[in-house]
Point group: C2
Chain length 242, copies 2
DNA sequence: GTCTATAGCTTGATAGAC
DNA sequence: GTCTATCAAGCTATAGAC
């Protein structure tokens, strides 16, 4: 069982490593570190933590296995480093977007569609236009969110505050909504978001090519309309609000 | 890369194994075989294919590792056997349910809510009351659906026909809906279903205990209302139908 | 910083006694 | 059918030269 238990995630007060730099230093070769993270991000997103070996990461990064340990220590620390690298920008950007929208929603005031547009578009845009790293990261987040073992603390620390802020703003639009309904509605939306960002290709096959998993522009448009209607149905029955 | 490539799934024309029984034989001890499948199902659903070792499966099943290979051959074949065991009953039951509903929808005719109730309730009920094996299986399906590498062929073979039948019946309710819209709407609903059946516990933490992942009765109720409204918004804009 | 070399262990799978 | 015993290969991680 030992191996299957989730290895201890990066702890706040951990010594973490022996001597090497936790981040790229001024004189040090930051490219090597970033290259290892890129390779690990790619592989972890496709095969999961246990489906990737340090050797494969090293090979894809074009470095030696010892170097991976030199920079990141244990394998789990490498995973956490991958996950953390983009977590903050990912979430701060969409929180900024909904806060901007709340400040200046336009003449008609805030709508669920407008709010979701602000909240969802950034991750979709990163995935589409941020380069392959961001696409891999999106898939990694999707996979991690669907897995109870990994990233529990990290997901909660970085992602939950963003979601809570979103729900606060939804409450401004639907002041009579019950909180429990809001969370369940979010859960439905979150599942859709997760599956979409994974780009598994299942929809392509199911639809006989009619839909493409990679068409994230469409996916985002559909999700906004689908979720807004879903929230209204679940949180504002009998025309209470919304 | 070799290890990471998806091992060949159970092929239709494969010899598969050397001598041992592919299924429980009359005189053979079917309990052992089933016990191995139960253990593997549990572990795979929690840690994924690469996160589980044959030794752990054997230990949890209370048998020797050699016996696992005796019954199932390679590790991937064991995974496929786990996945296949409940796939047919899982899907045939929900297809039967929607077909029954389509034949006798009640006085008001078919509704999206009624159809989704018929389609969604069976897997939720299995997960709630079918014993731990069914709960593990639900989580395994959820995880597999979200992963591009595994179960591609198996998922398509057993699950896609059921979904296509569901979409056919939705088309009877919303005859003017465009097919592409129906598939994208399904995709949103599928993501919610997947995340819910995984019971990851993320929602419990996010909501501060207000919602419980294990409360599948509520989860199903919410999903039906959320998805029905979502389908209408996406597939029947401007009150075309539905 | 980057490498070679290797320790120390675990893995999937098999051979063969019973 | 079930076990013991074992193999070859692969793994993470480290020590130490440069």
């Amino acid at each position: 069982m030992t191996k299957l238990d989730a290895p201890a995630p990066e702890s706040a007060s951990a010594p973490a490593r022996r001597g090497p730099p936790a981040k790229a230093t001024a004189q040090g070769n930051g490219d090597t570190r970033e290259g290892i993270l890129d390779a690990a991000e790619d592989l972890f997103s496709k095969h999961g933590f246990y489906g990737v070996t340090i050797r494969e990461v090293a090979r894809e990064a074009g470095v030696d296995t010892a170097l991976v340990h030199y920079y990141f220590g244990a394998k789990r620390a490498l995973f956490d480093a991958v996950f953390l690298r983009r977590a903050e920008v990912w979430n701060s950007e969409r929180v900024d977007a909904i806060n901007r929208y709340a400040r200046d929603p336009g003449p008609d005031g805030m709508t669920l569609e407008g709010l979701f547009e602000a909240f969802l578009r950034p991750p979709f845009q990163w995935s589409l236009k941020g380069g392959p790293g961001w696409k891999h990261y999106a898939a990694l987040v999707a996979q991690t969110n669907a897995n109870p073992t990994f990233g529990g603390e990290t997901m909660a620390r970085y992602f939950d505050p963003a979601i809570r802020r979103l729900i606060e703003l939804i409450q401004q639009i639907m002041p009579d909504a019950r909180e429990v309904d809001l969370y369940w509605a979010w859960h439905n939306m979150s599942g859709a978001l997760t599956l979409t960002l994974g780009e598994t290709g299942r929809l392509d096959r199911l639809s006989g090519g009619l839909c493409r998993s990679g068409d994230l522009e469409s996916a985002c448009d559909y999700m906004i309309r689908f979720a807004a209607a879903g929230f209204r149905a679940v949180c504002a029955p009998e025309g209470r609000a919304g």
